[in-house]
């Protein structure tokens, strides 16, 4: 507890903010602008990486930025849970900088400066959420993410973009203001502080609070962080897929949705606490509640022919794995859920990168038109296949590790229902990913493609997606890096 203030946290949080300012100043000088993004991303990653040894050794670096009121600060802390999210988000930003430069230039998109500025600002919000030391700081950065991603979602500035953007804001800020803000004030009234508990057992609510109030607060938090895309408040996510693909990739597979899930998990473990949740019997009902999302979203994904839409529903489904794992309240379940934050990030970003590369190279969005493309784009489809295996949960790719722990956790919790849900969803995952890969490599090219010789997209796009695919395998074979953080979360 008595660790001195750690300036690296401030560097990590400020890097994207300063980067956004530099990007805006660089304006239309493309190379300089991309260089600013890259340097900001690199500084953020290095600052985060430099925290790894400290957190490994059991320290919790902290930094208090502002004292607002008694018990109410804007403060940062890097505990193991924060590190899982911060390391994966900051690393993937570095990769995405290259990818999005290739994508945006490849398509000659407009307003690239605004795009890059908002992108950096979103990362500012995401990293802030990761390192938030209390509910207020979490809420602040959560709202930063909501506001800064709006211009990205509505990037194309057409009717579809605006209506998706509006839906996005209505869902995300509406729930945050309508559910999280009152819940936060009430938590402050009840416990006199908003600082997260040091461990996951006790939470911060005093023991004598009426169980009805705790349950209501809990429901507000599960539904209020609507970026977690738990049904019925998931609909913004598929709509947001109108955004350019790098946005979908980093933001809607990694940063934004993970901010939602991370916040949910953070609040479940560090505000309510495992003991309180167990005592009030909130765990398994939550698990069943999100199971509905897991299964239904997978079924909807089956019906989508648009590749990004299918990936979007796959994301909706996979995000709920994380909440499900934590809600099981068993050690294996919590570990599996938390490590899935990183595992899903690396695999899902690969899938979106592939979708974007396919679109830039061929201008195709529909899965049914992608037959045979794998033969002309072997790296892209190879990476897609690897990431699909991870989503399905096949060894040795990352997703297997998560699913193994989740199944173990469900077994420990003695819930046959959850095991059935996990197995069903695995089958559904296979059903909607396998055909894409199979037809990509072995399908017959559609007649319309005769005479077209498609090739891989620009290396600035292909290299990042190969890197993330390789990492997906690597953290499947050596899950230790993220797993140790997940284990350190447990008491």
């Amino acid at each position: 507890m008595g660790t001195p203030e750690d300036i690296r946290l401030l560097i990590a949080v400020l890097a994207p903010l300063v980067g956004a300012g530099l990007v805006m100043a660089a304006g239309k000088r493309h190379n300089l602008r991309e260089a600013c993004s890259f340097v900001a991303a690199l500084v953020l990653f290095l600052a985060t990486a430099s925290l790894v040894p400290d957190v490994r050794s059991g320290a919790i670096p902290r930094l208090t930025l502002f004292h607002l009121l008694p018990g109410l600060n804007i403060a940062l802390r890097a505990d193991p849970l924060a590190m899982i999210f911060a390391v994966s988000a900051s690393f993937l930003w570095v990769v995405t900088v290259f990818y999005s430069a290739g994508y945006m230039r490849g398509l000659n998109e407009h307003a690239q400066t605004r795009f890059n500025t908002c992108f950096a600002l979103t990362l500012f919000g995401a990293v802030g959420c990761a390192f938030a030391a209390n509910l207020l700081t979490l809420y602040l950065f959560y709202e930063v993410v909501s506001i800064c991603t709006y211009p990205l979602v509505a990037h194309h500035q057409d009717e579809e973009g605006y209506s998706s953007g509006r839906k996005y804001l209505v869902y995300l800020t509406g729930t945050a203001k309508g559910l999280i803000l009152p819940a936060m004030v009430l938590v402050y009234v009840l416990s006199g502080t908003l600082d997260f508990a040091p461990g996951i057992r006790t939470g911060i609510l005093p023991p004598d609070v009426h169980r009805g109030i705790v349950t209501a607060l809990y429901a507000c938090c599960i539904l209020g962080f609507a970026k977690n895309a738990v049904m019925p408040l998931h609909n913004w996510l598929p709509s947001a897929m109108v955004a350019p693909t790098p946005v979908s990739a980093l933001l809607h597979a990694v940063a934004v949705v993970k901010v939602g899930v991370f916040s949910t998990v953070r609040v479940m473990l560090y505000v309510f606490g495992v003991d309180r949740m167990a005592a009030l019997n909130l765990g398994l009902p939550t698990a069943y509640f999100v199971s509905f999302t897991i299964v239904v979203a997978s079924i909807i994904a089956l019906s989508k022919d648009d590749l990004k839409a299918r990936l979007a529903y796959s994301t909706v489904s996979q995000l709920s794995y994380i909440i499900l794992g934590v809600a099981l309240l068993t050690p294996a379940g919590i570990e599996g859920g938390l490590v899935h934050i990183a595992n899903h990030a690396f695999s899902k970003i690969t899938l979106f990168f592939c979708a974007g590369a396919i679109y830039v190279a061929t201008h195709k969005k529909k899965i049914s038109e992608m037959s045979g493309l794998g033969r002309s784009m072997p790296f892209t489809f190879g990476a897609f296949a690897v990431a699909s295996l991870s989503m399905i949960g096949a060894p040795p790719v990352a997703g297997f590790v998560s699913k193994w722990y989740l199944l173990n956790g469900a077994w420990d919790a003695g819930s046959v229902g959850i095991i059935v849900v996990l197995l069903t969803s695995t089958l559904l995952n296979t059903a909607y990913f396998a055909p894409i890969v199979y037809h990509g490599f072995f399908g017959k090219a559609p007649a319309a493609d005769d005479g077209h010789a498609y090739s891989e997209a620009h290396p600035s796009m292909v290299v990042p997606l190969v890197i993330t695919a390789v990492i997906s395998v690597a953290i499947g074979i050596y899950p230790d890096f993220f797993m140790r953080f997940a284990q350190a979360v447990l008491p």
Binding site: F66, H67, L68, L69, L72, I74, L136, Y139, L140, E143, I147, Y150, P151, Q157, Y162, G165, L169, V170, T173, G174, K177, G178, L181, P182, V185, L186, Y188, V189
Partner: protein, 498 residues
Amino acid sequence: MTAETHTGAIPVLSILIFAPLAAAAIAVALRSDRALRWWALLFTLANAAFSLPLYSRFDVSTAAFQFVERHPWIPALKIEYSLGVDGISLLLVLLTTLVMPICVLASWRYIKTRVKEFMVCLLIMESAMIGVFCALDAILFFVFWESMLIPMSVMIGVWGGPRKIYAAIKFFVYTMSGSIFLLVALIALRLQTGSFDIPGMMGRGYPVGFQCWIFLAMAISFAIKVPMVPFHTWLPAAHVEAPTAGSVLLASILLKMGGYGFLRFCLPMAPNATAIFMPWVAGISVAAIVYGGFAALAQSDLKKLVAYSSVGHMGFVTLGIFTLTRSGIEGAMLQMINHGVTTGALFVAVGMLYERLHTRELGAAAGIGKHMPAFITCFGVFALSSLAFPGTNSFIGEFLVLKGSFEYSRWLTLLAVPGVVASAAYNLRMLQRVAWGGTSNPGHDGLRDIDLREVCALAPLVIFVFWIGLNPEPFMRVLHASVDQLIQQAGQGLVPRP
């Protein structure tokens, strides 16, 4: 009563109040418009600088009135000339002196005709507004209270928009009819206590029936000023027609007098009546929050939008006051300052748009961010502040009010939540449209971004948005002692009388 601390050799408050009148007299003698503008600007800046020692020399450990001046005025009626500030009025005095230079800057190009008369009106207003917050004698208070009406109505009626006469008369009639009730209550109090001394009227334990009557009489007057639903209809009319500086003064200072009146008169003088009417006023406040939010959502005129948002924001102020909790009242006080900063700033910004586009339609302003990046950055800060984005000033105020309100009644607070959500909705809608709206307006190409004068008008407000938002302690510390005493006085109404 705790002991009052008297002012030293220099009568600071008297100078603050009467210097603007002297400055107005000098302004009458000036000839060129240019000289008038510079004179008004330099004088208001000097007055603002002169008011700062009030803060640095303020003793935060006591709830007593400070910088007190007492002189006999009309001895036959026991009317005194007495001034003083405590924690509740100090910040409002400082807010007034801060806002004045900004008003002058905002009128720099906006007011083209009768500049002299306009600046004289502004300076008279400053005098009266500071007087209201400093007066410790009920009649003196009432004199200042009423003397604001004339210059304000003139400002609306002469330099206003197309329906200026209608708006000016509506404003005048509403406020005037409220004032009559206030005067009656003050005279009734004088008959009970034998003097017009405001501190002397507090905590006297009047009979409950008497308290109810004076509470209602004063509450009507203050409710019109705040304005509380259903007395709010003068506000959109006045705001829309008034020139920028008029809107800023209305929003930043005049509305605060309602809240100030509740805190200075109703709560400490009629604690039992406060306890009786508390649920009703709190309920009306919640209604105002929700109503103001949704009404603002429906507006396409930018000034009307901000005007209705004021109704919602001031609903938070009255809600905070009538929770009678420490965080509620401190939140309400802070929210008054915040509203003064943020809404004042929004009116200045809308005025800047009007100077360029000659319309306040949201549709006509759509997409202006592309051409005016510096403007839109400031505008974005104020819009986010208005929706109580965490890290900005309004968040702290709203958080404290909600905290106090949760302590008072959970269900009532939950009813206010739709209003909170609506405030996010209308602000984001406004910001989105203005920043890069859907239509491309061809007329925007030649627009110039804000110049140095306009930056100077907005920059201090941006600083205050973040200063209060990230470090509210310097503003809160002056409140604690006075609010504690107020709660103790008003809390007497909550315990049953023997």
